[in-house]
Amino acid sequence: MSMVEFKQVVKSFGPLTVLDKVDLSIEPGEVVVIIGPSGSGKSTLLRCINALETIQDGDILVDGRSVRGGKEEIHQIRLEAGMVFQQFNLFPQMTALENVMFGPINARGMKKAEARELALKILTKVGLETKAGHSPAQLSGGQQQRVAIARALAIRPALMLFDEPTSALDPELRHEVLKVMRDLAAENMTMVVVTHEIEFARQVGSRLIFMEGGKIVHDGNPVELLGNPPSSRLKDFLQHVH
């Protein structure tokens, strides 16, 4: 079974159609990188997967569960899909460790001691064990985003959604976040990544999707698509991103 399956998905904001009958299926272990101009619908597509946006028509199945299946289905989908945001969105009143412990305790019902152990292990994995007691405000952007990734991983998702995870970071801080994402991909995590990081798409992506006007225009092997863009539109876009 596919990990994520879009069937003729339509999403609109008022009169504006943002996703126009999108079909897409993502298999376990794939690293799908989505690129496209702003307003092309790439972030919306990502946010529809865990029902942060509600769709108007069609259906999305995540591990067989429908985003239109009601509260309990959505709850299960969200436990299965970890999300990382452009603006990190760490809880400012909690330390890094508390941020990572929060999901296991409150969404998974884990005991505090157990959650702390898990959180420390995941913080170590993203290289931030020494920052466990720091509040988000005391961390750099790159560190905050790594904590945010750790927080998403702590609910033990089967799928990770990244919404422009490096767009708010200084160029020299981006690499530390990309490295963590690379490590995750190497562990066979299923990932959907909306980004402008073309190098990441080339090196880590197993699949590249180019979106425009609410439609998937190209969908294929990143190395092939980037090396030999099949349309002048993609070629044009890539020139402007670099």
Partner: protein, 218 residues
């Protein structure tokens, strides 16, 4: 004129009794007002349309009329309309509850709306129900932002209790008025009354400062 300290010493027991009542009305009234305001504020921010209209109506009515009129209505008109007898103290406390509640509701709404939407989404994306997101993430953050404005409201409401002189509740101002009516020592009595209010409100201001220090805005 000669300022007679003995007048103050004599009046002090009665004035302190009035101060106790002032604090009681403010404390119980504000506890109720904060609860009512929190509810109305949440309804205004997140509630369904029907409840939102109810909350809007309540806020419009209360903010659109003076507190003295509200307490007069509760004390004199409500018994006629509803056939229930309400004593002065209850009317005073009720007035503070419904009056401060309307202002608190708008403070709560403003603070809730000021919390970045991304934090709510981060909570929801983890699989938490909205009620938990509100209680564990947005609520505590919004509360910190409310403290300065809520502090203002507490100070205002405490001083508003002096208006209950009109229904004869023996709070601090009323006590001062009654003592003065007997001894005509306006300077001593009103100085003493003013100093007692100042002491209560200074203590309150320090309390608020302490809370704000412990829970800074993030």
């Amino acid at each position: 004129m000669d300022f007679q300290w003995s007048v103050i010493w004599e009046a002090l027991p009665n004035l302190l009794q009035g101060a106790r009542l002032t604090i009681l009305i403010a404390a119980v009234g504000l506890a109720g007002g904060l609860t009512l305001g929190a509810l109305a504020g949440m309804v205004r921010t997140y509630g369904p349309n029907s409840l939102d209209w109810l909350a809007r109506g309540y806020i419009l009515l209360i903010r659109g009329t003076p507190l003295v009129v509200q307490v007069m209505f509760i004390y004199f008109a409500l018994p006629i309309l509803a056939g229930v007898r309400i004593d002065g103290l209850t009317a005073a406390i009720l007035s503070i509850i419904i009056n401060s509640g309307a202002y608190v509701a708008e403070i709560v709404r403003g603070s809730l709306l000021s919390i970045p939407k991304g934090l709510q989404e981060a909570g929801l994306a983890m699989g938490l129900p909205f009620s938990k997101v509100l209680r564990l993430i947005i609520g505590p953050l919004a509360f910190r932002r409310m403290i300065p404005a809520l502090g203002n409201q507490c100070i205002t409401s405490l001083k508003d209790t002096s208006l209950f002189i009109v229904i004869g509740v023996g709070e601090l101002t009323r006590q001062g008025q009654e003592i003065m009516a007997e001894n005509y020592r306006a300077v001593e009595i009103w100085t003493a009354v003013a100093v007692i209010y100042l002491l209560i409100l200074t203590a309150m201001a320090y309390g608020l400062k302490y809370i704000e220090k412990r829970m800074p805005i993030l």
